[in-house]
């Protein structure tokens, strides 16, 4: 059976409505009466109450976030993972260039992220109201506070790190490490909480996957940070290993999305957003994984293979975030999940009782 949302997205579009009205007007003019105008679609096999709720109109509101939000998911994820790479790199005395660059990547991400978030606000001048209260039950509140702590510590770590290099000293050293530790702890939250943020909502496609979204976004952000650092000229083997691990997790995520059969998951696979989701999965999972495994074998084109894998991962990570927001829009438009219409349809298939038939004799 066709998913009702396909009828709906067509039917609720302005053009479809206009077309339907024109038909009704025409019929009224020709025959002096209108037959059938309560029916939502010719393809609707059941009465409208069964399948479409209130004329197929959405029960939920669409997420009103603009493009800044998926961009922020990417930038914040990259920044959080970069802070972690900087700290672990320092701890294992990796080359100082990698540590320095990852610190700056975290710091720049920590500065760009709030800018993106503020520009999405309906009233940007009131951004400080985010810090009026702290609410543990609101991922948006937890995220705002986390971002503030992260931005400050990541920028401090980068700036103090520069200062330390030129004019070292015990105090500066301790302060740098302190800032670095805070940026790692908050960075880990920053790279994962966005999955909770969209997962703990009423949007069916999102809350259905709340148990995997944070892991998915963590892998996506980690891949982004490692590959950006690679493209900045770091050929560290550790980065390659991180990217391989992230690509492996992303492959598993892509497969699990493709295999999920529940009604809310249909929004992840339909239309442009569905292809974006598939494309994102392929670009962040199997493609970089394969290229990197090839790079391990091939001595000659090792660097170019890793570069290609890095570009694929970054494109995949960006597309992943956009595809999830897009799936939320499609999911919000579909009344069949919140109204549990499909469950009703399948149960009435077993034998519609008389009471049901009486209600709508059409």
């Amino acid at each position: 059976m066709n998913a009702p949302k396909n009828l709906l997205t067509e039917e609720t579009s302005r053009r479809a409505r206009e077309h339907r009205l024109a038909k009704i007007r025409h019929e009224a003019k020709e025959h002096g009466q209108v037959s059938d105008f309560t029916r939502l679609s010719e393809r609707d096999p059941l009465s409208k109450a069964e399948l479409t709720g209130y004329y197929g109109t959405p029960v939920l509101k669409r997420p009103q976030w603009t493009i800044e939000i998926p961009l922020y998911f990417f930038v914040g994820g990259v920044a959080g993972a970069a802070a972690l790479i900087a700290a672990v790199g320092k701890l294992s005395s990796a080359d100082t260039r990698l540590v320095r660059q990852s610190r700056w990547l975290a710091a720049i991400g920590g500065l760009v992220s709030p800018a993106l978030l503020i520009s999405d606000l309906g009233v940007p001048s009131r951004f400080l109201n985010m810090l009026r209260v702290f609410k543990i039950q609101s991922p948006m509140s937890v995220g705002s506070w986390t971002l503030v702590a992260f931005s400050n510590s990541a920028v401090a770590a980068a700036v103090l790190g520069e200062f330390n290099k030129r004019r070292g000293g015990r105090l500066v050293n301790v302060l740098t490490d302190g800032a670095q530790i805070v940026s790692v702890l908050t960075g880990l939250v920053l790279a994962t909480y966005t999955g909770v943020l969209i997962g703990a909502t009423v949007i069916p496609a999102w809350n259905e996957h709340v148990g995997t979204l944070p892991i998915h976004f963590a892998a996506s952000g980690t891949a982004g940070a490692a590959t950006i650092l690679e493209l900045m000229g770091n050929e560290s083997k550790a980065l390659n290993r991180i990217a391989i691990g992230a690509a492996a997790v992303e492959t598993a995520m892509g497969v699990s999305i493709e295999l999920s059969q529940t009604p809310p998951s249909e929004s992840l696979k339909s239309g442009i957003g569905g292809w974006a989701m598939r494309g994102a999965g392929v670009l962040s999972g199997p493609v970089p994984l394969l290229l990197r495994l090839l790079a391990l074998k091939s001595r000659r084109s090792r660097i170019s293979l890793r570069k290609a894998a890095a570009i694929s991962s970054i494109a995949g990570s960006l597309l992943t975030r956009w595809a999830w927001i897009q799936a939320g829009q499609v999911s919000a438009d579909d009344p069949s999940v919140p109204l549990q219409l499909r469950r009703r349809v399948s149960s009435s298939g077993d034998g519609m009782d008389d009471h049901e038939n009486q209600k709508d004799p059409r």
């Binding site: 009205l21 309560t38 109450a49 209130y54 004329y55 109109t57 959405p58 029960v59 939920l60 509101k61 997420p63 976030w65 993972a81 972690l84 672990v88 790199g89 294992s92 999405d120 606000l121 309906g122 009233v123 951004f127 109201n129 009026r132 209260v133 609410k135 039950q137 991922p139 948006m140 939250v189 790279a191 994962t192 909480y193 909770v196 943020l197 997962g199 703990a200 909502t201 999102w206 709340v210 148990g211 995997t212 979204l213 944070p214 892991i215 998915h216 963590a218 980690t222 083997k237 550790a238 290993r241 991180i242 992230a246 939320g328 009344p335 919140p338 109204l339 549990q340 219409l341 209600k359």
Partner: protein, 258 residues
């Protein structure tokens, strides 16, 4: 639960939309344009930032007594929708600024002078009520006429309703009244009446309940609305696993070089 409530009885509604108009007038809500929807006489569409009362027009098959006196007319039902003012309100829990508060009357109220328009409440409402106004930037919804209630006045919609389809009063009294009304309707032969008041779901009861004829789904009333905070535990556990994987993976990746 305590405080005040709406009981919207669709068996008394005549679809005059006086509640919509009174609400717009009193609360000074901007016009939402003039858009022919083609859904019976409903050209309002849905609740939103500029629509805090919405009369739904439900057309169905031929049901005796519901299509006027002619036996071959469609049945026509009306029901005025409104913010449910949930006991566990998704919007209130999600709001990061504390702009959304619970009033002393039990309603859920958005303080427009605090809201910064982050739009997180929009995806936290299981009824699709709250919406961000693209011009003003803030989120808006029914205020439960907080200003009028403070002056011991009934909300504008309930005051304007000419058939007392919208009743307003103490929540416990209205619950009793709803039960009485249901019993009377059933006695009169209305066997398809339904009292929509989801108390078993995670929203924990609502301050605006409805008597409708037929399935509540037909009025876009979800059978089991869930407050999204129920997903938090699962989400944060997953976040902890994700963070743990990041940490362990990075430590492992760098540890190999030693």
């Amino acid at each position: 639960m305590s405080g005040t409530a709406f009981l919207t009885d669709s068996t008394l509604c005549i679809g005059c939309k006086a509640c919509e108009v009174a609400c717009k007038e009193w609360n000074n809500i901007p016009s939402d344009g003039f858009d022919w929807k083609g859904f019976s006489y409903d050209n309002t569409g849905s609740l939103g930032h500029s629509t805090w009362r919405h009369v739904k027009f439900i057309e169905g098959g031929v049901v005796a007594g519901l299509g006027g006196n002619s036996p071959d007319l469609l049945s026509w039902g009306f029901s005025s929708d409104v913010c449910k003012h949930c006991e566990n309100a998704g919007c209130l829990e999600a709001c990061p600024t504390g702009a959304i508060v619970r009033t002393e009357f039990g309603g859920v109220f958005i303080q427009s002078d605090v809201c910064n328009g982050c739009a997180y409440c929009v995806v936290a409402c299981p009824f699709g009520v709250v919406e961000r106004n693209p011009d003003a930037g803030m989120a808006f919804k029914c205020t439960f006429c907080y200003d009028r209630q403070k002056e011991e006045l009934k909300p504008a919609c309930a005051t304007a309703c000419p058939t007392e389809s919208i009743k307003f009063g103490d929540i416990d009294e209205l619950r009793g009244e709803a039960e009485d009304r249901m019993a009377r309707l059933k006695q009169a032969g209305f066997n398809d009446v339904y009292l929509y008041n989801p108390q078993d779901s995670s929203v924990g009861g609502i301050h605006a309940f409805f008597i409708v004829r037929g399935d509540p789904e037909r009025y876009n009333l979800p059978p089991s609305p869930e407050v999204p905070t129920t997903y938090l535990r699962k989400g944060w556990v997953s976040a902890a696993i994700g963070a743990g994987l990041m940490l362990a993976g990075t430590l492992f990746a760098f540890g190999q070089d030693k």
